[in-house]
Symmetry: C2
DNA sequence: GACGGGGTACTCGGATAGAGCTTGTCCGAGTTAGCGTGG
DNA sequence: CCACGCTAACTCGGACAAGCTCTATCCGAGTACCCCGTC
């Protein structure tokens, strides 16, 4: 059970995008060069963010990606879901159906108590992710590293 | 990011084992037949539980697996960790090290604010798992399906 | 000098290979129970 | 009848393949800009 590495890249890229003017688009190549990441693969992740409505993409010269909405309205949950998909990590395969007393008509994803317990844990995880926004991270980074915004903006636009 | 399917099997198998006498060992084949699972593969998962000290294993005739300690002392976290390993799903690869101002001496798994945010979410997940024991599930199953204990015990011992 | 059209360079986007993990299977080492034999 | 040793069957345990997801890459479709020619 390991998370897609693109989640980390996407999170950092979104935070970095908060520091560039909203009317400037940043190319995938430039975002990738920032952390020496494979450009084509990062592009793939950014495409997923665009499909999810988190980023907007523009083709051609002066094209690239930009945030589709304000950082306060982008949660970590949004980004994780965009990259990883909406399915839970724990998938109830309803093995109770094959056991003694198993009823084919019952939806064991809702009835099975093991599934419910795992679901509660996953819900706690999602709740924590949904409670944090890109703006929160941006603010804490600015507090800890005051030079980061300007340095990042320069590196991404020049 | 999908969890090993063996986690589901292990959870159900542990709950089922709570209903057989502590001095009776149940073979992997019998536990697998209960839900029509591939026996050899379930055996693999049970081995992991044994290595983690959750089950004890016995070889030879009359051998098999049994719970190593009381269900109250076995949390869902124990089982998930035994199967999935101790690593977090989100792995900070410390990409900040490659970025501008990156310092090779800094441990970014502790410093990176993105990593911290993801860590908090994962901690909430683990906390929820650690707060639930096999005994809790056993109790709620018994409340919902009073016939389950006897039926399971019979099926696993005869 | 101003305007329009074509070419060109640049960007995203999806289709296409390769690596690593999950899933599934198999046979061997070790152990216990049962049986046969001898006292 | 009882004790002992041997055999044989049974179980776990780890080593060995197949499928699938994640990782990585490449080239084509689309677009905005820029240059050139014309009015």
């Amino acid at each position: 059970m390991k998370m897609n590495e693109g989640v980390e890249w996407a999170l950092h890229s979104c935070v970095n995008l908060t520091w560039v003017d909203g009317d400037r688009a940043v190319t995938a190549a430039r975002l990738a060069a920032f952390y020496e990441l494979p450009a084509a693969y990062l592009n793939k992740q950014l495409q997923a963010l665009a499909r999810a409505g988190i980023l907007t993409s523009t083709s051609g010269p002066k094209g690239g990606f930009r945030l589709a909405r304000s950082p306060e309205r982008i949660t970590l949950m949004d980004i994780v879901t965009a990259i990883e998909g909406p399915e839970d990590a724990f998938r109830c395969t309803e093995i109770l159906r094959k056991g003694p007393g198993g009823d084919p008509a019952v939806d064991y994803r809702a009835q099975c108590l093991v599934s419910q317990a795992m679901g509660r844990a996953e819900l706690a995880w999602r709740r924590e992710l949904a409670g944090q926004t890109i703006a929160d991270i941006k603010a804490s980074v600015e507090a800890a590293y005051p030079e980061a915004p300007e340095r990042t903006r320069k590196r991404l636009t020049e």
